[in-house]
């Protein structure tokens, strides 16, 4: 059995009032300190390259989507959030997604799709907000997922750097 020996209190502590005053002075001093909380919608959360937000599809500089609908992200997705239907295109890559849906209600933002993609077509953007009034509205289609490459560049560079480090250790 553990017996916790109580600390013998001094007279000032036993009188209690001085301690109360000490506490009051502490809170009063803190009263004038700068708030550390964030005014969320006006001051959004800081994001940087490590931020793993929602997956987005890269639109290359020529205006075409980088995705060739190979289905690797669909396979990698542990939450079965991605559904892709491919189709033929006249572009050199022959194949592009006709339907690319991510059910954001299922998506767990794990980033496996980003890792699986052989075409650098899907990256975790720094977008964090996710809200809608309907469930159907949260199944993002191709148009909702498209982002210009420049918007994702920071993350793309980060992923490349990460992968290069991994490669050099091999």
């Amino acid at each position: 059995m553990v017996v916790v020996q109580r600390k013998e209190l001094t007279l000032a502590e036993r009188l209690y009032l001085p301690e109360v005053l000490r506490g009051l002075s502490l809170t009063f001093r803190k009263f004038f300190e700068k708030p550390i909380t964030r005014q969320y919608p006006e001051q959004p959360l800081p994001t940087d390259e490590v931020t793993r937000g929602q997956p987005r599809l890269v639109v290359k500089d020529d205006g075409n989507i980088a995705c060739v609908s190979c289905g690797m992200c669909e396979v990698a997705c542990p939450a079965y959030a991605i559904t892709i239907d491919g189709g033929e295109t006249d572009r050199g890559i022959e194949r592009e997604p006709k339907r690319f849906e991510i059910d954001m209600l299922r998506c767990i933002l794990c980033g496996f799709c980003e890792e699986a993609c052989p075409k650098d077509a899907i990256f975790m953007s720094n977008e964090l907000e996710l809200a809608d009034f309907t469930r159907a509205g949260l199944v993002y289609d191709l148009e909702k997922l498209k982002r210009p490459k420049s918007a994702l560049q920071e993350r793309i560079d980060y992923v490349y750097r990460l992968n290069n480090r991994w490669r050099s250790k091999q």
Partner: protein, 345 residues
């Protein structure tokens, strides 16, 4: 203007004063609900409500609208009559006590209009009588809700009120003995004539500390808010209340706080007298009163966000074994002192 005011019938002045004071009281209570959240936020490095209006100043209004439009629920098995009566019992007595507080004197030309609704000889008795009734709101509300949390909240409220009311009365009695009157106006006048606020006299200082502690307990405020006590009782006596009835409980609590702050300022800090300047103009007096009362209102919030809640047996021990003996001894010594210095008639 002055001539006009001089000719105004007495009853119109009275109605104007009632409107002003009650409006001020309810406005203060509303502002306090905002101040409570703002001050707590600042003490915790937060912003507090700042969405409704500039600096969140319209937040009480938004809250009020919300309270009005929310659904009122009466629990099954509740005593409907008492359940509906309790919020009114909680709010009305504490609002009525403001009537005897002397806020100052308005001077218009030659005419001096005392700025308080009533100047009773037994002002303090009146306050204490009504103040003692405010506990009924908590007790009956807690009992009528047919909920174990509410019942326990009501029980605690009654036990606590009885315990601390003694201390409260005894500490006021010291001031009454020192001033020789139950009239609050007379008490203020006595302090002004002595040139010394009661808090700076040795007995007054002890009484002040006891009064402040007891007033926290009487208004159910931290660190003695056992009647509500969220961690154990979910919300205590008002657990089952919603919408405007809940708002009335809050209004009652904040009005009681306001009155206690005013009383503290009046009894121990000379009410509307300006320090070191007895001939100060009348509006400075009112301002001084408001500042003093404001400080005690701030103290209520300040203490709430500083001290942890007592345990109930600690509360009772503090009340009966510490505060009450000291208060009794204080009364005894003051009585002897007053008797032997033979200042009275």
């Amino acid at each position: 203007m002055e001539a006009f005011l001089a000719d105004v019938p007495e009853w119109i002045l009275w109605v104007a004063k009632v409107a002003l004071i009650f409006g001020g009281l309810i406005g203060t209570a509303a502002l306090m609900s905002l101040a409570e959240r703002k001050v707590s936020a600042w003490m915790q490095f937060r912003h507090g409500p700042n969405r409704v209006g500039p600096f969140g100043l319209l937040q009480p209004l938004a809250d009020g609208i919300k309270f009005i439009f929310k659904e009122e629920l009466i629990p099954e098995g509740a005593n409907k009559f008492l359940f509906r009566l309790a919020p009114a019992l909680a709010a009305i007595p504490s609002m009525m006590t403001i009537a005897v507080i002397p806020i100052g004197t308005i001077v218009v030309g030659e005419k001096k209009i005392p700025f308080s609704i009533a100047q009773l000889d037994l002002g303090i008795m009146y306050m204490l009588a009504l103040g003692g009734l405010s506990v009924y709101g908590a007790i009956l509300g807690g009992w009528a809700s047919n909920s174990k949390y509410s019942l326990l909240g009501g029980l605690r409220a009654s036990a606590q009120m009885i315990s601390y009311e003694l201390t409260l009365i005894l500490s006021i009695l010291v001031i009454v003995a020192l001033s020789g009157s139950l009239d609050l106006g007379a008490i203020v006048t006595a302090q002004r004539e002595n040139g010394l606020w009661n808090v700076f006299t040795p007995f007054g200082a002890v009484a002040f500390v006891l009064f402040t502690i007891a007033s926290f307990a009487e208004t159910n405020r931290h660190p003695f808010d056992f009647a509500e006590c969220e961690p154990e009782l979910v919300g205590g006596f008002h657990t089952e209340y919603s919408a405007m009835r809940f708002a009335l409980f809050f209004l009652g609590e904040y009005c009681a706080m306001t009155v206690m702050a005013c009383l503290n300022a009046t009894l121990f800090f000379g009410g509307p007298s300006v320090p070191l300047w007895p001939e100060a103009p009348w509006f400075l007096g009112i301002l001084a009163f408001l500042l003093k009362a404001g400080f005690f209102l701030f103290l209520f919030i300040w203490v709430r966000w500083t001290l942890p809640r007592f345990r109930f047996d600690q509360l009772m021990r503090l009340g009966w074994k510490v505060a009450l003996p000291i208060a009794l001894a204080n009364v005894l010594v003051v009585g002897a002192w007053v008797a032997f210095t033979a200042k009275g008639s």
